[in-house]
């Protein structure tokens, strides 16, 4: 029995395949791009190929993320809030708080021991303090997104970035550059600004000793470092952290498959290749 979770995020689309023992058989991650339906289909096919199975071997697919209703071949949709909770509880059974920073939103989630969502808080409508904010900062400094985290760790004296607004941060960075400040010092400030905002969000659901950090931004070592400094503790960061939503969705799909809720329909993205 194989189940799949497909997480269609604002920036990246991820898929995982799980067997009935909850082992991860395959992962795939692509840029979402403009065609959300096609991104979901493509990523699912990639995961199926990576696992060396056929599409019709997958009995249940659950879609999650902003584009969850665009997973046209999915059997059910679950919000990424529930999925990140489920995925994090699976990988880190003692975690009670999850911080998920994605392309355009940030969530703090408090879960029960069993992985049920007890409470959650999200950033307001603007993208301040999210992945988009880091992209804007990188672009302003003419750096690649992957470079800014490691570079920020070389800071000597972190500069204060007062703006977490994705639009206004640009002029603040430019002002620092114009004053001849070191890029690493500026970037440390940028990462600290996000960390500060994220910790405030986590405080709203209540801080707990074991915190799991998920979402695309958790791959940025600069953010991990700034968060750990602010929280004075280590965070759980899995190498699968970007797949956390997809893993959770896959676990929900597996529940359905085990409960026999496939209605005779196997997952197939349909159409020609």
């Amino acid at each position: 029995m194989i189940a799949s979770g497909v997480d269609v995020g604002s920036t990246a689309t991820k898929a995982v395949l799980l067997d009935e023992n909850r082992n991860i058989l395959a992962r795939a991650c692509i840029k979402t791009g403009a065609n959300v339906v096609r991104a979901a289909q493509r990523v699912f096919r990639e995961a199926v190929q990576a696992a060396g199975v056929e599409e019709h071997d997958v009995t249940q697919v659950v879609g999650t993320g902003y584009g969850r209703y665009k997973v046209t071949f999915g059997h059910a949709q679950v919000t990424e809030i529930s999925c990140h909770a489920r995925g994090a509880a699976y990988l880190f059974p003692n975690t009670r708080i999850i911080l998920d920073i994605g392309g355009q939103d940030t969530k703090a989630i408090r879960i029960t021991r069993g992985g049920d969502v007890e409470d959650f808080c999200m950033n307001d409508k603007c993208a301040a303090g999210t992945g988009r904010f880091l992209e804007a900062a990188a672009a302003t400094m003419a750096l690649a997104l992957e470079e800014i985290g490691p570079l920020s760790l070389q800071y000597r004296q972190a500069l204060k970035i007062t703006n977490v607004c994705t639009v206004f941060v640009e002029s603040e960075i430019l002002a620092h550059l114009a004053r001849g400040r070191a890029p690493a010092d500026i970037l440390r400030g940028v990462h600290q600004a996000i960390a500060g905002r994220s910790v405030a969000l986590m405080r709203r659901v209540g801080l707990d000793p074991e915190i799991t950090f998920t979402g695309g931004v958790s791959r940025n070592v600069g953010i991990v470092s700034a968060l750990e400094e602010k929280l004075e503790r280590k965070l759980n960061v899995s190498s699968d952290s970007i797949y956390m939503g997809a893993i959770g969705a896959g676990l929900f799909a597996l529940d359905r498959a085990l409960a026999g809720e496939h209605g005779g329909e196997h997952a197939t993205v349909g159409g020609g290749h």
Binding site: Y66, T79, G114, D116, V117, C121, R204
Partner: protein
């Protein structure tokens, strides 16, 4: 609705009909040379003004109607063109924009005021709103300063203060209209108001039933309109008699507002009028019924015992003025919501925070903390606006609402206690 039911749809349809007639009377007022008074919903003193033959205009209701009829956006932009900041209340900007577009509202032509009565002072923006209107129309402005309920007990001095101002207003109205104050008529109207209020409370409290026959938020916003705009009139009483018959019929036949009731919630905060239908649907698809709400109390906390009393006309009106939801201090509001969660057997609390209204949104973050952390009541916090169509992100709202009810559904499934309201 099936023909077998005699009263279904009455609450919505009769309300629509009566409001339509009211707007029609308003458009005809200038031609007939009849006086017009502008006032606010919260703590309004309708019966006192109609005593002098004033037609009543509620700019908030106009803004609300423009929102729900999807014309608010253009008026808000018009006000911003005139220099109003994006941060100013959407109701105010809608009204200012409407005024500068010839007062042609989707409901009809709105007459200019002969008198403005600023009867709600809990919101500074509202005071400024009426000051701006007074200047534009060159109409007299009467400031009825209603003290905020800052203590748990109602202060006798506060009541005397409000009654004293009402006496000043009576003198002003006599001067403006040339008509004598008619205390008998006031008593007669207040007696009708009181009866209508009794019916309204029965409708609201019917939602204590499981399943509930009535939605105290998404339906209440329509059912409360006659009590807010036509108070004291025979029509108003007739409306609530008919609306109650609809609810009784629903109880008899097991008709509910949401099909199968899956979740019972208390809702705090005003609705997003420009997206009202879409917002309601986000809850309907989960089988959610709002069994109690605070927004349905902005025009009076009748379910908390507030009543107009013909035996104490001005005193009871003053008590009413002070006992509208947003005129209560935060502790009173918190205790009220806690009682609602308990008495109406709610599964959770939904806080809809709107950018426009500080009278509502100040303190909501603390309310969220108290309910989710101290009281252990599942609480959802969502944000948009009551008037400005731009502050509504459907995908984000839906995501939060879905996640909240997914969590509640799972908790129900695993039979964890959902609400342990320590009343």
């Amino acid at each position: 609705m099936s023909d077998a039911y005699r009263y279904q749809g009455t609450g919505r349809n009769l309300q629509k009909e009566m409001l339509g007639e009211w707007f029609q009377r308003l458009s005809q007022a200038p031609a007939r040379g009849e006086p017009v008074a502008y006032l606010f919903i919260s703590g309004n003193i309708a019966e006192l003004l109609t005593n002098f033959g004033f037609h009543l205009v509620y700019p908030e209701v106009n803004a609300l109607q423009c929102g729900i009829k999807k014309t608010a956006g253009q008026f808000i932009l018009k006000a911003e063109e005139l220099g109003y900041s994006p941060d100013v209340c959407g109701y105010v900007k809608n009204d200012i924009g409407l005024l500068h577009s010839g007062n042609q509202s989707p409901m009809g032509n709105l007459p200019p005021p002969s008198l403005l009565v600023c009867n709600y002072s809990g919101c500074r923006t509202y005071v400024k709103w009426f000051e701006a209107l007074a200047e534009f129309y060159k109409a007299p402005l009467f400031m009825l300063d209603v003290p905020y309920r800052r203590d748990d007990a109602l202060e006798a001095g506060d009541l005397r203060y409000v009654v004293g101002q009402m006496q000043e207003l009576i003198a002003l109205c006599e001067k403006l209209t040339g008509r004598r104050f008619d205390p008998d008529r006031l008593r007669e109207e207040l007696a009708r108001t009181r009866q209508a209020e009794d019916y309204w409370v029965r409708i609201l409290e019917s939602a204590k039933r499981v399943p509930s026959p009535f939605d105290s938020y998404f339906e209440a916003v329509f059912f409360m309109a006659p009590l807010y705009t036509l108070r004291g009139t025979p029509d108003c009483l007739r409306y609530y008699e008919a609306a109650w018959q609809e609810i009784e019929e629903r109880i008899t036949h097991g008709i509910g507002p949401a099909g199968e009731e899956r979740f019972r919630v208390v809702i705090e905060g005003p609705p997003p009028w420009p997206h009202f239908r879409a917002f309601w649907e986000m809850f309907q698809r989960w089988g959610v019924v709002a069994v109690a709400s605070t927004y349905s109390k902005v025009g009076g906390l009748y379910d908390q015992g507030v009543r107009h009393d013909p035996a104490r006309p001005l005193e009871s009106m003053a008590e009413y003025c002070m006992n509208c939801y947003t005129n209560w201090h935060l502790g009173l509001r918190r205790d009220l919501i806690r009682r609602y969660c308990h008495d109406y057997r709610a599964d959770g609390l939904v806080i809809h925070s709107v950018k426009s209204c500080r009278s509502f949104s100040v303190g909501q973050a603390d309310t969220r903390e108290v309910f989710s952390k101290e009281l252990g009541i599942p609480t959802l916090f969502i944000e948009s606006d009551l008037a400005d169509p731009r502050y509504f992100s459907a995908a984000q709202l839906r995501n939060r609402i879905d996640a909240f009810f997914e969590g509640l559904a799972h908790r129900k499934l695993t039979s964890l206690p959902v609400v342990e309201a320590r009343a």
